[in-house]
């Protein structure tokens, strides 16, 4: 979350005037003798005056809506003041060109990105993405690559009509010494459930930063070790065992063979 989105104006002019006058009306009850619930009305009124004067509503922000119109132009996917920002980095012991080439072929990405179902390149610069969303929902969007510098940078943004508006970039830098390549991902997205949904998701560990980090980790494994470590199916005892555990400390040791003397 950037600082500016916390205070940016997100209300229209009419909304602000109504809020200011409504707030004054409500707050003025503190000067009346017979008014019930003075404190609450006073505080509520003060907050209404504040949001009217500053133009920033915390309620709208939590719900992820804007009252002052959508300022996005032809090249903006996330309206100013909205969205969640995530960043992650990994160092991969492979040459910059190799990692760039792997990433640039977007259809490779579902192999390493856990929640990505498919990527189809429609035309140069445009591609169709499908991901597994929360609660088994499928999320789809069309993306446009708006910057592509060979071996250095790829940047993209979603086009209107996306299930999730998003914009991001990946940068490739030589790591110091002979440590390979630093891969840095920036992603900004507008969660369908607003800031409130993103906060709840973060509480349960499903935040974008962790997801990107573990995707980058799989990319590293794939490019360095040639395979992605897995323990998806491992031999395992039944969850409920009917065998009796050893408990008695007086159990005889008859099963033990005689101790062999070391040479």
């Amino acid at each position: 979350m950037s600082q500016s989105t916390l205070t940016a104006a997100n209300m229209n002019l009419l909304d602000r005037w109504v809020s200011v006058f409504g707030g004054i009306a409500l707050a003025s009850c503190v000067f009346r003798r017979d008014s019930a619930g003075k404190t609450i009305k006073g505080l509520l009124g003060a907050e209404m005056i504040r949001r009217g004067l500053t133009g920033h509503s915390f309620g709208y922000q939590l719900l992820g809506v804007r009252g002052n119109g959508d300022p996005r132009g032809a090249s903006v996917s996330i309206p100013y003041g909205l969205g969640v920002r995530a960043r992650a980095a990994v160092t991969i012991a492979r040459p910059r060109a190799e990692i760039y080439r792997f990433w640039r072929d977007f259809e490779n990405l579902p192999r390493i990105m856990k929640h990505l179902v498919s990527v189809k390149v429609n035309s140069p610069g445009r591609s169709q993405w499908v991901a597994q969303g929360p609660a088994g929902r499928k999320l789809a969007w069309e993306a446009q690559m708006h910057n592509d510098i060979e071996n250095e940078l790829i940047a993209w943004r979603s086009l209107p009509g996306a299930d999730v508006d998003s914009a991001g970039s990946v940068r490739f830098k030589d790591a110091p010494g002979s440590r390979g390549t630093e891969v840095l991902v920036h992603l900004q997205y507008n969660p369908p459930t607003g800031l409130l949904g993103a906060t709840v998701a973060k509480l349960f560990g499903g935040d974008a930063e962790t997801e990107i980090e573990s995707d980058l980790f799989r990319l590293k494994q794939f490019l360095e070790a040639g395979e992605i470590a897995t323990t998806d199916t491992q031999p395992k005892g039944p969850a409920i065992s009917y065998r009796k555990p050893v408990q008695s400390s007086t159990q005889t040791l008859h099963a033990a063979e005689p101790q062999e003397v070391a040479s």
């Binding site: 160092t91 012991a93 440590r179 390979g180 962790t210 980090e213 573990s214 980790f217 590293k220 494994q221 360095e224 070790a225 040639g226 395979e227 992605i228 470590a229 897995t230 323990t231 998806d232 199916t233 491992q234 031999p235 395992k236 005892g237 039944p238 969850a239 409920i240 065992s241 065998r243 555990p245 050893v246 408990q247 400390s249 159990q251 040791l253 099963a255 033990a256 063979e257 101790q259 062999e260 070391a262 040479s263």
Partner: protein, 388 residues
């Protein structure tokens, strides 16, 4: 197949489980011929290692015969007799390339969970909780070994199993502990804990040129084994332990101290009673009594080497003493592949026979009994090997 499965505190059982399968191109399947219970398995047995699930197959010290290889396995072939390191290493990342194999970047599929806990994840380990990858262990008839060309060492000559098995963990672990002491001519090394790792640390310290080794434990047969390894012994229950350590070293203190105990210090000292109390209230995860004493005993400018496993938070560690005396602290999981060849060489030319540590040879089915007596140190138990 039969395998030793974890079911809770002090509860392991031999169960029938599905056979392992090749999951990745660089995997191999090994038929186990000999496996062992490690002191660090007892941390799991006693419930101090988080991330265990009921039914998990234990064991990270094992050897056997290759029975199946994945499509990308080039060096190992069917029929090879191998000892596998307990650390799983990719061989390609910065850390493997820098000989820091236990820190391998690419072998823990649950690295994100460990990263949240420790800031970064090291190598995946066999049979050592889901935080370390959830790999099924080797106290079983078969095991899947990932990156089979990297870790396992082929044993070509006719050395018996129990002489080479401990290359998988405790011999290299004791050796690395001594190597971390940076032993110079005339050095006195103190070793806390005369379990298997401590025993190998004692012998390795002499191999690396230590003048004297002081071994500290309480159990008579372990102290006896330490004496047979050339060490002078002290009882940790001795109230004059610290002054005797000073006396033994002419007032200087040991040049280096090895903590081969780790998170489960025993003994009825005041600080350990405090640790037991805090541990039972979940206010502290580990009991670092040995660490405290080793810091206090070590000579100025000396080295503290810690092969004993720690898992979480420790309290009241005299860090001011460590700072004031300019101590060097060296620790961590063992970089096993680094030591396989040199130590196999030492076994081959008769410098050491690692089977000296074995006190109990049991069939795999008796593993629960093995855990029990090893944990309680009953029946003179110093090391249990299991034959499937």
């Amino acid at each position: 197949m039969k395998a030793v499965c974890w079911y809770g505190n002090g509860d392991v059982r031999v169960e029938s489980v599905p056979d392992p399968e090749i999951l990745n191109p660089r995997d191999a399947i090994i038929r186990i011929t000999l496996t062992a219970i490690c002191g660090s398995d007892l941390h799991i047995y006693n419930g101090y290692i988080p991330g265990m699930q009921k039914g998990d197959v234990l064991g990270h010290e094992f050897m056997g015969e290759v029975v199946e290889t994945g499509s990308e396995v080039k060096r190992l072939k069917r029929g090879d007799r191998v000892v596998a390191p307990f650390t799983i290493c990719c061989g390609e990342c910065y850390f493997c390339q820098s000989d820091l194999w236990a820190l391998c970047d690419n072998t823990n599929p649950n690295a994100m969970a460990l990263k949240k806990l420790y800031g970064a994840s090291g190598a995946g380990l066999f049979g050592y909780s889901h935080l370390y990858g959830g790999y099924a262990g080797g106290q079983a008839q078969y095991v899947r070994v990932p990156f089979a060309d990297v870790g396992p060492i082929v044993i070509e000559n006719g050395l018996p199993d129990d002489r080479v098995l401990f290359l998988s963990d405790i011999f290299p672990t004791g050796y690395m502990a001594a190597e971390n002491c940076n032993i110079q001519a005339g050095d006195v090394v103190a070793v806390w804990g005369c379990g298997p790792v401590g025993q190998f640390a004692i012998r390795s310290a002499f191999m690396l040129g230590a003048e004297r080794v002081l071994a500290i434990d309480h159990i008579p047969e372990r102290l006896e084994l330490a004496r047979r390894g050339g060490a002078e012994t002290l009882d940790y229950a001795d109230s004059e332990l610290m002054s005797k350590l000073r006396e033994f070293t002419g007032g200087r203190g040991p040049d280096s101290c090895i903590d081969a105990v780790g998170m489960e210090t025993h003994g009825a000292t005041i600080d350990n009673v405090y640790d037991y109390a805090k541990q039972s209230l979940f206010l502290e995860t580990d009991r670092p009594g040995v660490l405290r004493r080793a810091i206090m005993a070590c000579r100025k400018g000396g080295t503290l080497s810690i092969p004993g496993v720690y898992g979480g938070m420790i309290d009241k560690v005299p860090f001011g003493a460590a700072f004031a005396k300019s101590l060097t602290l060296k620790m961590g999981q063992t970089n096993v592949p680094r030591y396989l060849r040199p130590l196999l060489g030492r076994i081959q030319n008769g410098e050491i026979d690692p089977s000296f540590i074995v006190s109990h040879r049991l069939p795999l089915e008796e593993a629960p009994l093995g855990y029990h007596i090893f944990n309680k140190k009953q029946d003179g138990c110093t090391k249990v090997v299991l034959r499937p």
